[in-house]
Symmetry: C2
Subunit: 372 residues, 2 copies
Amino acid sequence: MGAKLIIAATTNADMRYASGFAVPDPFILVETAKRYLLLSSLEYGRARKFYKGKRGYEVVLLDPYYEAVKKQMKGKVRKGSVLALIAAKFLKDKKIRKVTMPAQSWAIHVEQLRKAGIKVEIAKKPLYPQRAVKTQQELKEIKNVRNATVKAMNHCISILSKSKGKTLKYKGKTVTSEFLRKEARKILLEYDCEAAEMIISHGKQTAFPHDMGSGTIKRGEPVVMDFFPRSTKTGYWFDMTRTVCKGTPSKELVKLYNTVKKSQDAALKKVKAGVSTGAIHKAAADVFEQAGYTTDDGQGFIHGTGHGLGLEIHEAPSLHAKGTEKLRKGMIITIEPGLYYKKLGGVRLENTVRVTTTGYEDLTRMGRVLRL
Amino acid sequence: MGAKLIIAATTNADMRYASGFAVPDPFILVETAKRYLLLSSLEYGRARKFYKGKRGYEVVLLDPYYEAVKKQMKGKVRKGSVLALIAAKFLKDKKIRKVTMPAQSWAIHVEQLRKAGIKVEIAKKPLYPQRAVKTQQELKEIKNVRNATVKAMNHCISILSKSKGKTLKYKGKTVTSEFLRKEARKILLEYDCEAAEMIISHGKQTAFPHDMGSGTIKRGEPVVMDFFPRSTKTGYWFDMTRTVCKGTPSKELVKLYNTVKKSQDAALKKVKAGVSTGAIHKAAADVFEQAGYTTDDGQGFIHGTGHGLGLEIHEAPSLHAKGTEKLRKGMIITIEPGLYYKKLGGVRLENTVRVTTTGYEDLTRMGRVLRL
């Protein structure tokens, strides 16, 4: 692949992975045999300390390059493209004429680099395909987020199960999606995790898998809780979903729930190193088909069965109908079949598991119970 | 400019601005006289409800386009580029041959669109330059985040001022950066705000403006608190910084603080519609120069004076030495000079203000006091 070039903040997962560092503003990483990090004086001192003794990393002060580019451009430096011009200058100094950049690179950067005479190839595949298979350290970080997520969800389930009334009340307070979300976030906070988005939908809202949910929760209706927090310390994610019902669910809802549970079990049973992602999706979808649940017009099983997670909430592999990728030992993936109908609502169950050579390790330490 | 094309999730500020909607996954927006939103069945129903009665918006189900692209590609659809292929198909159906895309568009999308015969221009300027000037509604949203931010910072200042001992203790607990950060986040949470990053640095850490801070805070040392939370509901940000010291600060620190305060006042005095961003930076920098504080080797006044904020924490305008842009009424900007020296530490003071025709409205409802 030759030299790699990334221009991004460490909110970009490739940059975070390659640098192992956390920087809020975009900077430059050039990878040949060595990784060069070009950082402004704002970050330079901190970075030098961080990389001290780490072989294979060299921290370069960006400011002189910036001054040179400014001079060259006669002061007319546009903020969005200046990093690309600086990167071009650095690459030329190092006699690098060709780079591969991540697919998500800014179009303006690519345009500027090409104008400056650098040959840029846009990566068709992940820049670090090894990210899909997690190291022991990464597994540990993901388990830490798991602990927070399970605790937060248990807390919400406990509130729901102790609630009273037709429109649920807990210790005198009306139980709403918003109230539960705050309660969950309080727990996540204790573990240095945050969840910018967090689904706690109920009733008819559950028919739309991405409806975040709002308003008062009622007895007997489905409640879909899909929590996907991220550690503010390490950048790793976790993902899990439970569907519950305080009070007596309708017969239709019980049937829907049991079918999703069966579908999840069928998919989980298939998980093993060497199996294709498409085969896992098929196992989940077959259960729905056999039970007579159809998918049409935005209703039914309207999404894939799962996805990898790590430094991104959605990363490789993707488990969908046409998936041909083979699972590998150490991949961490979600298994999350669901059914959605406008009249009845939706049910989704999601576990995050680690692929092994014989099957999987379930990282989601929580049972599945509909009725509270 | 002709037709605009955005392919992004609403974490992208342009997409959020143009769509007014919140979607966690990337989707497609095409803007001609009308705004077309191409959404998958996962979002379609929710979006139809949301845009009902909103003229100028048309929600299009993406799934048939996806199926057509799959057929055309004989099943070999790469996840990263499929949205670009779908966009190309939609554009051709609408007889649109040329589009302008934001500078931050994914390079892979641009490449795929061009391959598909669409002429793509990368915007050199913001796609929605009107974003820099805030509407009354936007001002209101930003003030809501302000309320949370001021409350959180007051809470931390109150803890620091009530702390005892040489290494600070509060109600028997050791006062660390981490402890204060959690306390601040608890308050932010109550207002539906979150802060993935939040600087509470102390002592020598303060010499590095982007050091997030860690460990036990000691009497007599500078504490830099830079809070920049975002509303999880509306997507808007606020930004403010205070530097404080529990106990008796050194003479050098007091001098540093007073100089930064004087610099901030000088910059604020300059703020008014029609004034250039460079002139404001100069006013701040001149105070430092006159007081004999030099900038060199990653020390001194090593950053710009401020930036616009809104749906992004850093957006136009940028207030730096070479800035030629003129402030306009309704812009919301930070004024945040600072001085940083490795031996002494750093001081930064940051207010967020709204530009008016006669000066500015200070949105930061908090005084500036070093000694607690």
